[in-house]
Amino acid sequence: MNKILLLTKVLRKCEKGDNAGNNNQNGDAQLPVLITLAIALILGMYLLGKYFASAPFGFEFSRSLVCSFVYFLAGTTVFMWSLIRFVNRLFMSSDLSVLTTMPFSSSQLATVKFINTAGFLYIVAGFIIVPFCVGYGIASNAPISFYLTSLIAFVIVPLFSLGIAGTLIIIFFSIFRFARNKDLITFIGMGISFAFMILVMFLNSTSTDELKNSLETIINAIMKVVSIIPVIPFLIKFSENFDVLSLLIAILISSASFLLYYIVAKFLYLKSALSIVATSSSAKKLSDSDVQSVSKRNSAVKSYAKKDLIMVRRTPAYLINGFVIPFLWPVLMFLPMILQNGVSADNSFIDAMRNTDSPVHLLYSMIVPFVVAMFSAFFVSGINIIAFSSISREGKSFVYMKNLPMSYKDQIKAKRNASLSVVFITSTVYTFIILTVMCILGCVSWLSIIFGTVLNFLLLIICTDFSIISSVKRANISWENETEITKGGVLTGVYVGIALIGTVICGAIIGLLAFFVLNMSAVLIIVFCVLLVALCAFVTYRTEKRMYRRTTELLKEM
């Protein structure tokens, strides 16, 4: 027991030490914020309690029902959150390589990890249960048993969730041997999270009106769902009847959950943890002929860009931020709308766009590609982490970058090409597809596809060039963890702001201009579009020159 307490203390201190540089000073500053938040939550719960007490839908929500729901909310939140934290602490923690060599048993290590994980999650549960207990309790004139039950619920509901989550994680890592590869786990986890998100969206979209409107159905559903955490029904029984036996059963269930974790950890944890520590690549060995086939000469710039892309693809933090999000942004942005609302459109409006004789068709043939191109270019540039982290990504290898017999211009060109190749697919190709679909539907003319695609590509080059300049100016090569440099900073805000607000404003201005031109001739619209592209091309040319000059100056000084 002493060993467990000692190690728990040490690990907690280490964690504090790790975050000392960033968070220690913030800790004191955060306290008033947390207190304010807690007061706001209590007040909110009080008002909500008063509201429900007034039977707003002609239906009185019983205290037991509300309690069940809140305990369930706390239990599931802790469960979901602890899944992630258990993966990190039990299997991904950097201290594992040291701890596994020390004289600790499997269950001792797992218990320490459990305690360290539980600390934060009890705070989370506290933020849900305590304001509810105080706010709702006062509003509904709750008896003492309510407060007592809430206090017990605060202790045993998170314990149950933690025990189950920890057990599941250990079993999962023991069964699936692919867990040896951390990168693969991250990738699979990402895939599962995405699938889960789609599932939630889908379930949300299929919820029927009956379910939405029928309070009784909701209540029944809550009671059924709540029993997933078996502790809650017994706690409610105790709260209603002061049934001590129910309370004992609830405590036993929670303790059993931890016991289950302890037993599973005793037999499985250390074995699985050691296999993670022993992570190694087991790629196919190359033969002499393989070496010959893969060793072909390429240009230095091309090879440098390829190296950058490989490193982005193989680093989970860059992979998620640099590849996955840019590739999935249309899905993430538009799928919820499509799933929840269905594709609905004003038919008369679509008909007007389709009617080639209508002035609206001509107008939209220019505005639609402009808006699509501009929004897509700026939004994707805002999340183009490959460009933002161009120099910082080198980290300790920056010294090699300086030693290579390549001019800084060529190195920057390679980095620009690497990031541009990704955003080209995730923005220009998407723009082309969207406009082509609209053209096939007859909404815009085929010239719009060319106009939109070219405009988008030029805007992308301009944005990427500015991102690269920013990456040199804000270079941070002394990071410890890759996630530290996967942020775009102010420029992200600027790009996304332009994407959201700028697109609307510019679209409206162009619409007005086009409307006046429209009254004269369609040829003038084409001339206008060509001039716009030419202007963009000129700005692109100037930006390129500026980028190479500025980055070379900055790199020489570094």
């Binding site: 190694s280 060995k285 072909k296 090879s303 490989i310 490193m311 300790k396 030693n403 017999p405």
Partner: protein, 242 residues
């Protein structure tokens, strides 16, 4: 050949890392660059490789000024830094091909080099694995291979034997000797005096940014008769010498 003339680097008014040093690492010789921690070895190497700009002086690599013609000068040397933790997410074979492309090595030469030297260093079977999965010694050997793939005339090595197993250390020392015997030059920094004693034809001792000695080991020992290298080194670099 490496020629350093009146090289100076100041980090602040009070701290001069390298103070007006001039020396030569000639062709056909292994030159050891020796000095205690903070003596200015790494600063000097950084200036020779073009990573750091000197405040004053000139550095010629095979007669090419690193300041005036940096790309040409950088083609003359291969540099192995003291830390091998670079390009960790690349596979060994990808790293070597990347370095070969950067230095413009043709397909035939690079293939022969990769096959021969990766087998000599015991890395051939690991070529298809990421460098991240390598041990410290394997990473060190991979960095050495990457820097030598373009067969540079000058080898610059910062603590190259650190972390190498005896077999690989032997191989590298032998490669250094072979390279010098072909009329090329090797400059390496080390703390291990035994290595310097056995391997170096010439040594340069630096302390507080000032060159204390340049010449052959015999010349050094002649100045301190009856003393072993360790004692001589301690006498030269010790504080009581000031």
């Amino acid at each position: 050949m490496i020629e350093v003339k009146n090289l100076t680097k100041k980090f602040s008014k009070n701290f001069i890392a390298v103070n007006d040093t001039s020396w030569v690492a000639p062709d056909g010789a292994i030159t050891g660059f020796i000095g205690p921690n903070g003596a200015g070895k790494t600063t000097t190497l950084s200036m020779i490789t073009g990573s750091l700009k000197p405040d004053n002086g000139e550095i010629l690599l095979n007669g090419i000024d690193i300041m005036k013609k940096p790309i040409e000068a950088k083609m003359q040397f291969g540099f192995v830094s003291d830390s091998p933790d670079h390009f960790l997410r690349l596979k060994g074979i990808e790293y070597l091909n990347f370095m070969a492309d950067v230095y413009g090595v043709d397909t035939k030469t690079r293939t022969d080099f990769i096959e021969n030297y990766s087998k000599r260093f015991g890395l051939f079977d690991a070529l298809n694995n990421t460098i991240l999965s390598y041990s410290h010694g394997m990473r060190q050997k991979m960095m050495v291979l990457g820097c030598l793939i373009h067969n540079p005339k000058i080898w610059l090595l910062d603590e190259p034997l650190l972390g190498l197993d005896p077999q690989s250390a032997f191989e590298l020392k032998q490669m250094m000797r072979e390279h010098c015997d072909k009329g090329n030059s090797v400059l390496f920094s080390t703390h291990v005096l035994e290595v310097a004693e056995k391997l170096c034809d010439r040594i340069i001792i630096i302390k507080h940014g000032v060159i204390q000695f340049t010449g052959t080991l015999t010349e050094l020992k002649d100045q301190y008769p009856g003393e072993d290298l360790e004692n001589i080194f301690l006498k030269i670099t010790g504080d009581n010498n000031e």
